[in-house]
Symmetry: C2
Subunit: 348 residues, 2 copies
């Protein structure tokens, strides 16, 4: 598992350009906040936990050459850079969680010289990355208990190495299960419109020698009906306090289908994906993206008539009653979710 | 509605090459049975009722230069050509229905000179086309009663002009409703892998000035959850005697989602789509198509890593309990389906 979707080297944020996969494994060196925001918007880097890392370093890059003479001036710049990064994508809460954490860190150290605060923020960003690595390992350990020999697992989008710092959430569970010598098969939904399942999940599972089969999103019901799926594992972009879960568009389809076929449906996510400000899923902002993602494959060849109307929500919300359990770095959260999520968050 | 997906002119079968849409409206002139079979296999022509037309003319083209000296010799050729055409695609029953009808017609006229039988078969093929036109008009009349003002209708694949001779099944209902000055909106699932929704349904609805919005297949649940869909209308490739319905892959997903959201789910199909030999859906043969349909868009640019495993069933079966009603040329079939389908078929 030498692949790192995001790391810091020589004063630059190095990321894999995920829009180029699986054709090319290209690294980008981002040296200022505009480049970071562009990379987030264009989904060169994506996945809720990876976005937390990108946002933290983005914030540091945005203030590292600050000429602020006092904390108030500095704070103003910090807020403005933070707002700029926050505007890149609205749904994944980890991005906002990381920005808030960085801002709090600055606040705690407001008495220190600006140069020192900058240094502290860089360390904090590095800590956020390092913590994500550990959190994913812990998630994976807890989640791997759910995987049985000969399981056939369905997943959507990419909740793997490429969505985190290096191990993944839903796919991290599978890497851990493989390490434990369990044998299982994965079915990966291609995940239209941007094909993160086809392009990214297949690529990283294949690299890690996990048995994976690609299907179109529309085939999930067929597989469940034919008794070809034992459980569904997905990541999350934001989880409300009652357990309602925003994740890549198509996740809700799978949850309804799994419910209909009595197949367990697990959400694997760090506690930083739970939003303490959001009580229910209907309050989660859902990003709508450009029609050309649907009408033009890779923004090139058109697949629909010119000028056609398109609706392109990037996420959907799965209501908590369709979720079997949450896998977090502190353990598995079972229903009743409202009560149990509260306990987990208060303990952390 | 001047568009004709399939017609006979100057001893040739003229079809629209549907693989070229929406970029180009190209007509192909098929003058022998090999060309017809190639066009069916490659889905240059598709849609259960249109396949009936293609199969009938294909059969005629296959025997028109026959040098058979007697009916037995001729019959042998007829069987062999029929088998050749039948091998092109296994699921849509209308293709087999048409072949059987043509063979029966030959049998009825076995005493006549071979030249005369050939002539009769050509007339029968023309009759099959003409009947499909009338059947679609009747379907549309019955189905249009289901469409209310301000309805928001979801459909998958293409059950329109391009899938029939010229009016469509599910989309024919919409053309008729529009003629009756009803106002409604359509959401078209793009229908992976071959994008028959994005490419064909959007194209023909737009041409006919029907308000249509394109979505990815994975977005259907989101729309239903947000109360944006009032009913689902789909076509069919083969219907069992109990009402279980094979249709384009992804239809079953929609049926489960519609059921979960208590949204009516209608199948619009001619009686020739009901297979009197198939009691239940599990006996319907499901075509599996080549992996490259999923991994390579338009068989060109790869969207998945090289050598990835793919599962590509072209159809799924929706169990009858998820279907609200069938719209046929003899009227609307309501539950209990087993009893009522029997009545409709016996009357016809």
């Amino acid at each position: 598992m030498m692949l790192r979707s995001i790391h810091w080297r020589k004063n630059c944020l190095i990321i894999i350009d995920q829009t180029k996969l699986p054709q090319k494994l290209t690294y980008l060196c981002l040296s200022n906040v505009r480049e970071v925001v562009e990379a987030i918007k264009k989904m060169r880097i994506r996945g809720a936990p990876a976005l937390a890392g990108a946002a933290s370093f983005g914030l540091y890059l945005g203030i590292r050459y600050s000429k602020a003479k006092n904390y108030l001036e500095f704070k103003k710049e910090l807020d403005s850079v933070s707002h700029f990064i926050g505007s890149a994508r609205p749904t994944a809460v980890n991005l906002f969680w990381a920005l808030k954490r960085m801002q709090n860190k600055a606040e705690e150290n407001r008495e220190k010289p600006i140069g020192k605060i900058k240094e502290i923020l860089l360390q904090e960003a590095k800590k956020i990355l390092e913590e994500d690595r550990l959190v994913c390992r812990k998630l994976a350990k807890f989640g791997s208990k759910l995987i049985k020999n000969n399981d056939r697992i369905l997943t959507i989008c990419n909740a793997g190495i490429l969505a985190t710092v290096d191990y993944g959430t839903a796919l991290g569970v599978l890497y851990e299960a493989k390490k434990q010598k369990k044998s299982f098969k994965v079915f990966a939904c291609e995940t239209r419109p941007l094909l993160h399942g086809a392009r990214l999940t297949n690529w990283e599972l294949k690299q890690n020698k996990i048995d994976v089969t690609l299907i179109c999103d529309s085939m999930a019901g067929f597989l469940m009906q034919k008794n070809m799926i034992d459980k569904v594992l997905v990541g999350a972009d934001r989880i409300a306090l009652n357990g309602d879960t925003a994740n890549k568009i198509g996740t809700y389809n799978l949850a309804v289908l799994a419910h209909h076929h009595r197949i367990p449906f697990y959400v694997v996510a760090p506690l930083s994906s739970f939003d303490p400000k959001i009580k229910e899923g209907r309050f989660i902002p859902i990003e709508e993206r450009a029609p050309c993602e649907v009408t033009h494959l890779f923004f090139k060849r058109p697949i629909a008539p010119k000028g056609i109307k398109v609706f392109n929500p990037a996420f959907d919300v799965t209501p908590q009653r369709l979720i079997t359990a949450f896998v977090t770095e502190k353990g598995i959260i079972l229903p009743p979710f409202k009560e149990n999520i509260k306990k987990f968050l208060n303990e952390s």
